[in-house]
Amino acid sequence: MSELNKAMVNKYRNDFLKEVEANVEEGDWVKMCMQCGVCSGSCPFGPYWEHPPQEIFMMIRAGKRDDVLKSESMWMCTSCYNCIVRCPRELPITHIMHGLANYAHRLGIAPKMNPTRRFAKLFWKNITKGGRVNELKLSIGLYFMDGFSNGIKKGLEMLPVGLGMVKTGRLNPFALLGGGKCKGAGDIHKMLKKAQEIENRRKGFAS
């Protein structure tokens, strides 16, 4: 268990709801759920959720910390916002799911091999480097996520797509050398560092 995770377990003891309210984006909405299930039914990836949002809210109240934070479920969110617009209690469900995923990730207990988690990581690295997306590096990074040989295989699968994009001028083969840069990249790095700091301070993450 990561240090941070240990710290949080001790801090909140058996009150997972309080932990979520304090540390998860929009977490203080969780208590407002009335278990109607409209969110669970509205999710395009619903069938792939081990625990749908409304059940997750109930699990949080029931203190099932590990079952929630170690779950793949939140990582299924496609950010389609169907749940948000249909929720009769106006819970910002999409953000709560993002928040839970992010929190689990920070605690280091999110499912290691979850592809979305890994892609998200890669994506963030990619955009924060220069301030903008470098699509070529992003996709290549993506293919080689599971090691060189798999990467080649996936790369080959995706080759037609890639070539199509290149042919139509929608993918820059030279972007490996750069591209996706802001002049203010430096500022951005400083900003993100600061933001991280503040969030840790706010949420009492000793780091």
């Binding site: 996709s139 699968e157 139509t168 900003m191 991280q196």
Partner: protein, 305 residues
Amino acid sequence: MAKKEYSFYPGCSSERKASASNYMVSVESMCKTLDIKLNEIPDWNCCGASIGYAEGGELPRHAMNARNIALSEKHNPGQDIVATCAACWLGAKETHERLSASERLLADTREVLKEAGLDMDYKGQVEIRHMVEVLIEDFGYDQLAKPVVKPLEGIKIAGYVGCQTNRPFGVAGESFENPKYLDKLTEIMGAEPVEKYDQKVTCCGGALAFSEPDKSQAQIKKIIESAYDFGAEMIVTPCPVCQMNVEVYQDQINKKYGTKFRIPVTYYSQLMAVAYGSNAKEAGLDGNIIRAARLEEIAAKPAKK
């Protein structure tokens, strides 16, 4: 028509040789006709997109967007921010909304912006709008119909709105389940909207098309199948991610499901550019992997008026 000016947030995918560069091209042509001046936000950065949450988290994500807003308010004062990309629009709009709702979050964000010397430039007094909103609200369908010189006669088009231009904010006056603006735009451009198209707002998987290709492609299949069922010969969309996901995976889906999909997926701006008289290149049609043949034909024809 008086010139209209906006502070423009193109977003990563609209960059030269990026995945939605052809969107950008068509938007430029469209704006030329409508006499819209887009003042690009100097040195704008990525919005973090929806997928930015996992590593980025709350404050960093807002910081990224706040920087863009601050830059816009600094360099293009008094101008609404207009985005062409759904994710960019949503990201910026969300940050703007949350910062105006939470004193604390605003204070934290200013503290962050200070690092870039922009803390005082963030006022949060701008409207953040999608290009579609500008068209509908600042021009209106009647105005938009006027410049049509090459009506897109006889093309049946399914309007695929997708998620993020539609939820949670959406376009004023449209419903989340059955928005009609793409159909209306299609219609005034002289084409035939497939109004009963029932996958208008189905999610294409978004960023998860990369991480969960199978699950996403199952969604995309539904989206395309229904378009075919209703006799559409083309799909039009306002979102770069939707456009790419629905267009580029058709071969893979065909392999997987034994389907024979080959349907062009265009941007509303491409329809408009062509209808307004642009040639194929100006309308970014060369950027479509699945060629929009019918549009190219019309683009090649001489203007009617």
